[in-house]
Amino acid sequence: MTTKNLQLKKLLTLDNAAHLLMRNTVPILFILISAMAIPLSEFSFSYLSQELMTRLIRNSFLVLSLLIPIIAGMGLNFGMVLGAMAGQVGLIFVTDWNIVGMPGVFLAMIISTPLAILLGLICGIILNKASGKEMVTGFVLAFFAQGVYQLVVLYGMGAIIPIERLTLVLSRGYGIRNTVNLIGIRSSLDSAISFDLGPVPIPVVTLFIIALFCLFVVWFRKTKLGQDMKAIGQDMHVAEAAGIRVLRTRIISIIISTVLACWGQIIYLQNMGTLNTYNSHEQIGMFSIAALLVGGATVSKAQISHVFVGVILFHLMFIVSPMAGKNLIGSAMLGEYFRGFVTYGVISAALVVHAWTRFKTNQRQRQHLRGN
């Protein structure tokens, strides 16, 4: 029998099929629900493909920024919200100085990077002190950062930090308004070089940047730093014994992730066109992490394919389920509740299944050790 046949046969045994299903429960669930919801939503194929392409280029960078902390064993970096805040501060300045187009986007990236590095450093130090409970700590840290951000942007800007443009500042004299019009940089990356593939506009520059990032991740894994992080991710104590400076490397992984989240947020916002000053960053943490989990990643293992599969599936669900729910149930409002129920329900299922899968995998490994 050829190797291919053997592999297929191995695949088709009940135990392996069950294992495949178990390992990929969430993506499969999303695929099934999407398959039912797409025709129900009555959206045209061109509209769906346009929306999906938009969502893909908007969110991929942010989700990709989550990969490095997972490699380093820090779990899902909820602290990416801090990077998003840094990016927003950069955008506020660029809008104030009236720098438009691609120069505006890149200048925002440059001036917010030092801030993102500082925030990443603080986040990394705190997460190190909470070893073992990184995800919850990151989650709460994001709330704390929200308070500091409001202090700076709602009270400091205009009063202590000079802001020139009156359209940015509240008429009381200080504090940035709750929405900032990013018309200057809107779609500058997306429209720079773009061609139409049928109904779908393909933004070349943004896709190029995302592709560069993917290459960076692949290259990074092969460097000494990347290998160090992988070692830390597998076992901290063994890594320490091998001479790797564990604490310092963990901080570096968070700094890299925060800076990448900062740039990702700028790419996200140049696509959105409007900055929701006090809320744009809140959405980012949970949705990026959820998208990554939906793609089949786990808290300890994530690959680039997980990112793209996850973004497509997660956002496809978000696009079709409200209308599908409305057409199924007949009421717009219940359709909205349906969407919330389905999407968040499946995310919860993802986390529960992950915990259960980890338990079962450990069980299987113990069985193998026993020689079964």
């Binding site: 495949l20 025709p39 769906l48 929306e51 008429s171 709750n178 696009i319």
Partner: protein
């Protein structure tokens, strides 16, 4: 090489293509009877019930698009602050209909401007109308054809004036940072402060938790329930209260009716805003009939010794805005009205508010002096339970209040 990963990818590809084929087929199969469609976007009942009821009224009059009628109604997410992408997607999704001639968004939550920009890029003809914008006026003005807001400038003065007429000596303004970052609400507070000083009331700013923060709606409401009696004790029973958030209103009313104090009107007034829950009123025989609803609430308040202390707009603002803007859009499409004509707009609103008086004007931004030609401020006369209309629409507001920052 076939392995687990590639099976997943193949499955994904099959689903997307089959789904795509299906979706095109379904679109073609739906029979459409109405000549054109009007899209209406509102919140859900848990967010802002009155807006949704206004949409239902439009559906009742002009039919649901899915059964051949005119109105296509969708809702934006409950936690719209965190889900701007979904909001934009929802609104833009409405334009994926070749018969769509107008889209009304009430309320104009963050994301509306961007959604309108995207629709405009594909379609130059759809009328884009916003009621009650949450985004900065200067931002939404650039994307929408018409925006109608409650007159936060005039009401800054009129609410204080009404409070004084009722007998209040202190005015407590309850809000939180996110709302104070809204130009509209922040400016109104400044006007209220100045008006209080001029009319001889003491102005106090109190903070309460934001319902979309980590404590949630329940936490915010509990805070109000616990704090208001203490405030009444501190500032006395001659205190008028005002809160900027709908979720705070119900517990606030509950405590005022028990412990004393005044409540002129809510941020977006309606006889259904806070009163039903706070007073435990049953409306089963007054459904949809605002005259009856008003009378029912008034009866309960007078019975609970609250006459002359509580006010509202006789007709719900949210309900009227949705229905009125939809009606106005229909009039404009059929050539009976001009889009930015103030009397035409008030005519459309007036259809749903017989016997109530309205007043309005175009908006001027304070910082830049830019006067809008597509942004209108509008307000209704205030009705005090147990007393009647205060005739606020007849009062001429001193022009200095329009210049306060």
């Amino acid at each position: 090489m076939i392995n687990k990963n590639s099976i997943l990818k193949i499955l994904l590809f099959i689903t997307l293509s089959v789904g795509g084929l299906f979706s095109s087929a379904t679109q073609a199969a739906i029979a459409k009877k109405s000549k054109y469609h009007i899209g209406v976007v509102t919140g859900t009942v848990s967010q802002s019930e009155d807006d949704l009821r206004g949409a239902e009224e439009l559906i009742r009059r002009y039919g649901n698009a899915s059964s051949g009628g005119m109105i296509k109604h969708i809702t934006y997410p409950d936690n719209f602050m965190q889900e701007m992408e979904t909001t934009i997607s929802q609104i833009v999704g409405l334009s994926d209909d070749s018969k769509m001639k107008a889209i009304v968004v009430q309320q104009g939550i963050p994301g509306t401007t961007e959604a309108f920009r995207r629709i405009r890029k594909k379609n130059k003809d759809i009328l884009l109308i916003v009621g009650e914008t949450h985004e900065d006026p200067l931002v939404i003005m650039t994307a929408s054809d018409l925006t109608v807001n409650n007159d936060f400038v005039s009401r800054g003065y009129l609410i204080i004036d009404s409070a004084k007429k009722l007998g209040a000596k202190t005015f407590v303004h309850i809000s939180f940072p996110r709302h104070m970052s809204y130009e509209t609400l922040s400016r109104r507070k400044a006007i209220m402060q100045q008006a209080s000083a001029d009319l001889g009331l003491k102005f106090v700013f109190e903070t309460a938790p934001d319902p979309v923060s980590d404590v949630g709606v329940a936490g915010a409401q509990q805070f109000i329930l616990e704090k208001v009696p203490a405030w009444i004790k501190k500032y006395g029973k001659d205190t008028a209260f005002f809160c900027t958030n709908d979720a705070h209103t119900e517990p606030l009313l509950k405590q005022i009716i028990t412990h004393g104090g005044y409540f002129v009107e809510a941020d977006l007034p309606s006889p259904l805003m806070g009163y039903p829950g706070a007073l435990g009123i049953d409306f089963k025989d007054a459904k949809g009939d605002f005259k009856k609803i008003l009378k029912t609430v008034e009866r309960t308040i007078v019975k609970r010794k609250g006459a002359g202390r509580f006010g509202t707009w006789a007709y719900s603002y949210g309900f009227t805005a949705t229905a009125g803007l939809g009606e106005h859009a229909k009039n404009v499409i059929e050539g009976k009205s001009k889009l930015k004509n103030l009397p035409d707009i008030m005519k459309a609103y007036g259809k749903f508010t017989p016997s109530a008086n309205w007043n309005g004007a175009f908006y001027t931004d304070n910082n830049t002096g830019i006067k809008a030609n597509n942004f209108i401020l509008i307000y209704q006369d205030t009705y005090i339970f147990g007393k009647g209309y205060l005739n606020t629409t007849d009062i001429k507001i001193p022009s200095k209040y329009y210049a306060i920052k």
